[in-house]
């Protein structure tokens, strides 16, 4: 039986291949989009999810007939997680590859580097994986953002607990996490919270957090906000907090809770922790207009071995969609007009609402508050989209079963 199926599949593939090849030969010049992502180095994880988003977008746009009747081509380079390389690559994309449009790189450092090049050549960039406010506060003309900046990102979470009085702040010493911590400090007094001790900053090389956690424990705050960069440092914080019996009423983490391996690595220690999500794969359509979401999820699973898309893939898909909407609105490939359009658009993508202020800073995006409950992420807010209710207060470590 098997012996007959294989030739048939091969034959089908061959025929399909020929048709696609023939068809592609006939179509017009593609519109070229280019960007660089960290495919190697410390950012390789996020970079790969980002790449998938762009790949799915390219595939779906072309399947639907392209933009302005022209197919789309996406070029992705590897920036080795190094902003210097990002600068060089964006120079290359603009001047050597002569791409029509630039796509966003991943994370603040790289976005900073890329937008510097974009600004120089008048090439607009919709920043994908970036939240650091400084990106939009430099007076650049050719940058808009998809993600809310860190003040808004943190604000949602902190507002959620505005009844709590005392708070402690942990901060990983990186660009974007420092941005979060700054935003948190800006938000605390606005919600009537006081910091019980100065923010505790640790670095990526820190191997032992006992000392800062003991200091926090001595002040016994109601609420702990940890501006973590990923599963790695969040794991260290939670495990060591458990060890010394640090029991606030609520734990709030940035980034980590939406990273797929967070729950896997921490297991039941991740229970009750809260975080902010920019995107969830399965949400009722009522909250935002997600007509394309199901198709995106479906295509992503088909292309990448059945894996559900994660936030970082939805971000880049959203970047593509925004570019497409702006180009279609303008109707021609004019950088100036498209940049204007990007600043004026008020729309919705797979990723969520998109509306920016004059500086290009995102204003429309709705954030979700999530909590880990029984080993899964549940959405708590906005209430319309809630899948569960808040579990509060967090029980002490020794009272958990």
């Amino acid at each position: 039986m098997r012996s007959r199926i294989i030739p048939i599949i091969l034959l089908t593939l061959f025929v399909l291949g020929t048709i696609v090849f023939g068809a592609s030969c006939e179509t017009k010049e593609p519109i070229v989009f280019g960007g660089a992502l960290p495919l190697t180095g410390w950012g390789a994880d996020g970079g790969e999810y980002n790449r998938r988003g762009y790949m799915v977008w390219e595939d779906m746009v072309n399947a639907a007939g392209g933009i302005l009747g022209r197919p789309v081509k996406v070029i992705i380079y590897d920036d080795k997680s190094d902003p210097t390389v990002t600068t060089r690559l964006y120079e290359k994309l603009v001047t050597q590859d002569k791409v029509d449009f630039l796509l966003s790189p991943w994370t603040d450092d790289m976005v900073m580097a890329a937008t510097t090049v974009g600004e120089k050549y008048g090439k607009t960039i919709v920043a994908g994986g970036a939240t650091y406010p400084a990106i939009w506060e430099r007076g650049y003309k050719y940058v808009t953002g998809l993600l809310p900046n860190s003040k808004d990102y943190l604000g949602v979470g902190i507002r959620f607990f505005s009844g709590l009085k005392t708070v402690a702040l942990l901060n990983l010493d990186l660009t974007f996490t420092t941005g979060f911590a700054d935003a948190a400090e800006w938000n605390f007094p606005r919600e009537g919270m006081t910091l019980v001790l100065p923010r505790q900053t640790y670095t990526g090389d820190t191997t032992d957090l006992t000392a800062p956690l003991m200091k926090i424990k001595a002040k016994n705050p109601d609420f702990i906000v940890a501006c973590t960069g990923g599963a790695e440092d969040a794991t260290m914080i939670l495990r060591q907090a458990k060890e010394i019996g640090l029991n606030p009423k609520a734990w709030w983490f940035t980034i980590a809770p939406v990273i797929p391996e967070y729950i896997e690595v921490l297991g039941e220690d991740a229970e009750y922790t809260l975080g902010c999500s920019e995107w969830e794969p399965e949400l009722p359509d009522t909250i935002e207009d997600f007509s394309i979401r199901a198709a995106f999820n479906q295509r992503h699973r088909e292309m990448f071995g059945g894996e559900d898309p994660v936030e970082d893939a939805a971000t880049t898909f959203g970047v593509g969609q925004i570019m497409q909407l702006a180009i279609e609105k303008v109707g021609e490939l004019d950088d100036e007009k498209i940049n204007e359009a990007l600043h004026e658009l008020d729309t919705s993508t797979v990723f969520g609402y998109y509306r920016v202020d004059e500086a290009g800073k995102q204003k429309g995006k709705v954030m979700y508050v999530i909590q880990v409950q029984n080993g899964v992420r549940e959405t708590l807010w906005p209430f319309k989209a809630a899948t569960s209710v808040l579990r509060f207060p967090t029980p002490p470590w020794d009272k958990r079963d």
Partner: protein
């Protein structure tokens, strides 16, 4: 307050014991063989992955996996020495081992992926009269100290151990005493790779790690070897514990930035005062 201090100090010493184990392996490859081993960190990382895989696929108790990571990395280290490192010393060996580091780390990223892993086995702590002692850290530290002392005993009391020390002092003369220095160096490099692998196995219980795990520890390990005195095996243990302790004290009384900077500043100061390390021989 007293309990808090003791908690912090014990935690610092535990971390110091793990530093010492990492530095101990480096002391063999660097202190004895004069190979500036840039690949040291990847041995650690491979040890962590061996434990993770044995635990997650076969459910092996992570503490027993050190009996896997030790021989596997011993063999890998021996092979690397036999076919590559043997003919180089000093800066050339740095070039070579950096090449090995690039190959292994890159293959690990491709093979294991960049995502974080961790072994969830012991969590929580022992509460001894208000002093919190982290279970995974104290167990890891205990094994690390035992491992360091075992190596010390091995070098002090066995025939091969004495030969290793003889080679570190005068390789040519050792050869003329009938020591097959190539063979002994292969064994030395094997142990030098297996020791950080055990440290890596222990770290998989403590940290969430990915293929970049070893990088954090490499710089500190180099510094601790020099601090303890090159080729001095008890010195590496003492140096590691010292750094762990100092970091904990300053982290608790000052802040984390200062504590990490202090580790390095102390290394500079000690070297200025005693240029051959805490336990080093005077020249």
């Amino acid at each position: 307050m007293f309990e808090a201090w003791v908690t912090v100090l014990i935690s610092g010493l535990a971390m110091g014991a793990i530093y010492a184990l990492v530095a101990g392996g480096l002391n063999l490859t660097w202190g004895v063989m004069n190979v500036v081993n840039m690949a040291h960190g990847v041995f650690l990382m491979l040890g962590a992955y061996i434990t993770f895989m044995a635990w997650s696929y076969w459910g092996i108790n992570p503490l027993f996996t050190i009996f896997l990571s030790f021989p596997i990395l011993f063999a890998l280290g021996a092979l690397i020495n036999r076919f590559l490192v043997r003919r180089t010393v000093g800066l050339a060996s740095m070039l070579l081992t950096f090449g090995i580091f690039m190959v292994i780390e890159n293959l690990a990223v491709v093979g294991f992926g960049g995502m974080y892993r961790s072994v969830r086995f012991f969590t929580g702590s022992y509460d001894i009269m208000g002093v919190f002692v982290s279970k995974p850290r104290i167990i890891a530290a205990g094994i690390a100290v035992a491992m360091s002392l075992l190596t010390y005993w091995f070098l002090k009391k066995t025939k091969i151990g004495v030969a290793i020390r003889a080679i570190s002092l005068d390789r040519m003369m050792a050869e003329q005493c009938g020591v097959n220095t190539n063979q002994i160096c292969t064994i030395t490099f094997g142990i030098g790779a297996a020791q950080p692998a055990v440290a890596g196995s222990l770290m998989s219980l403590i940290f969430a790690f990915n293929p970049m795990l070893g990088r954090v520890f490499l710089v500190k390990a180099f510094a601790i070897v020099v601090l303890g005195g090159m080729g001095n095996f008890l010195g590496a243990l003492i140096g590691g514990l010292t750094i762990g302790l100092v970091e904990a004290v300053i982290a608790f009384s000052g802040n984390l930035h200062l504590s990490e900077a202090a580790g390095f500043i102390i290394i500079i100061l000690i070297l200025l005062l005693r240029p051959s390390g805490i336990m080093g021989r005077r020249q």
